[in-house]
Symmetry: C2
Subunit: 198 residues, 2 copies
DNA sequence: GCGAAAATCTTGACACCGTCAAGATTGTGG
DNA sequence: CCACAATCTTGACGGTGTCAAGATTTTCGC
């Protein structure tokens, strides 16, 4: 697949370097020039592979979504006969991904990427992820675990719930009176159970 | 309160200029130098009032939270005898604020402000806002509208649900199969009703 | 009310940033 | 093998956050 030119596979090396800088210095520390330096090329070499910085960010975000999708699917497919467990394990995996890849998660969901619809592979993997959520929700509905609203709408409810709590927590907006007593994992689980039919 | 020096009340003028640039050019277009220029002062005048750019962003975010708090309280206090209506109107007000002040909302919640706990007035107003949510949730619980879990935990659930859906929608992560059929307002309302005791 | 001290603002500089143009180098296909 | 395309380097440009030095204005103790 990737042909070897001067560097080898600079495009992926740049994405990888970006992920590393992101993890080490946060979103504010991510610059094209640092990415280039870490990959061992000159400051404008990236322009052979990405038309601009936004495009590299799109690639990093896409990579993040691919990983998130993989982890979600792994969590779900381990319990293919138990929709409720699929839901719970999927939620756990989502929270786990966010906490383990804090800045990648931020870049994926915090508006750093400004015109996401311009990047088709980003749109592809993120809508594929949404479809995965819809499937689990639908299975839960068929099993009577979730209410019988339209599946895509219910999927937005469930995903929104999880995503919102995680986002607020990462943003420091969840009061310490709550965080002192419960982990984010627990808070999300308790919240999701409010949506589940008793 | 604000004494008049050379400019008059440059500190607030800078915050206002920041809000305007934010609305016109988005988060990416917000620079200290543009803010200074719009306020009619030299490029480093802001340093008399803010130690760095993050500090100005904190002030803008704080201003945003003040406005959000005011709108939430207005929505809630119009229905002081009907907790369920308070909840629904409060949620509507939250969604309305997000959509009317898109980039301010982003700056408040999207990790642009990196060390939020360093800014005490930001912490004050945001925890005050959280307390407001807890109060409404508690009133709903007393009226049997919401389940009887610990109020602060339930508040995180409710706020997280609303905030998550709004965030995902603003990020373009809500599938068009949903958005074509429902407004964000409707989606959030339908979702919240899943949490309300029937 | 006056003069010292503090607050405010300007000017100029620095390093870093994203981006582009010109050219050098390297791989590929006819 | 050679023209061409892909890849990478060098150098430049304007914009950015920040700091230092100095000018200007207000405040405050006497």
């Amino acid at each position: 697949m990737p042909k070897k030119y001067h560097h080898g596979d600079l495009k992926n090396a740049l994405i990888q370097a970006g992920v590393e800088i992101l993890a080490k210095e946060g979103v504010g520390g991510l610059s094209l020039r640092k990415v280039a330096q870490r990959a061992g090329v000159s400051h404008s070499a990236p322009y052979a592979h990405f038309p601009d910085k936004q495009s590299l960010i799109a690639a990093i975000s896409t990579e993040g979504f691919n990983q998130l999708y993989a982890e979600l699917e792994a969590a779900i497919s381990s319990h293919s006969k138990n929709p409720k467990k699929q839901l719970i394990e999927g939620v756990q995996a989502y929270v786990h991904f966010a906490m383990e890849n804090l800045d990648t998660f931020k870049i994926m969901f915090s508006g750093v990427l400004e015109k996401e619809k311009d990047y088709s592979s980003f749109v592809d993997i993120s809508s594929k992820t949404f479809k995965l959520v819809v499937e689990v929700v639908q299975a839960c509905q068929n099993a009577g675990v979730l209410p019988a609203a339209p599946a895509d709408l219910m999927a937005v409810s469930v995903w929104g719930q999880v995503h919102g709590i995680v986002s607020l927590a990462l943003e420091g907006q969840v009061s310490h009176t709550v965080l002192d007593k419960h982990s984010i994992q627990d808070i999300v689980l308790v919240s999701i159970e409010q949506l589940i039919n008793s």
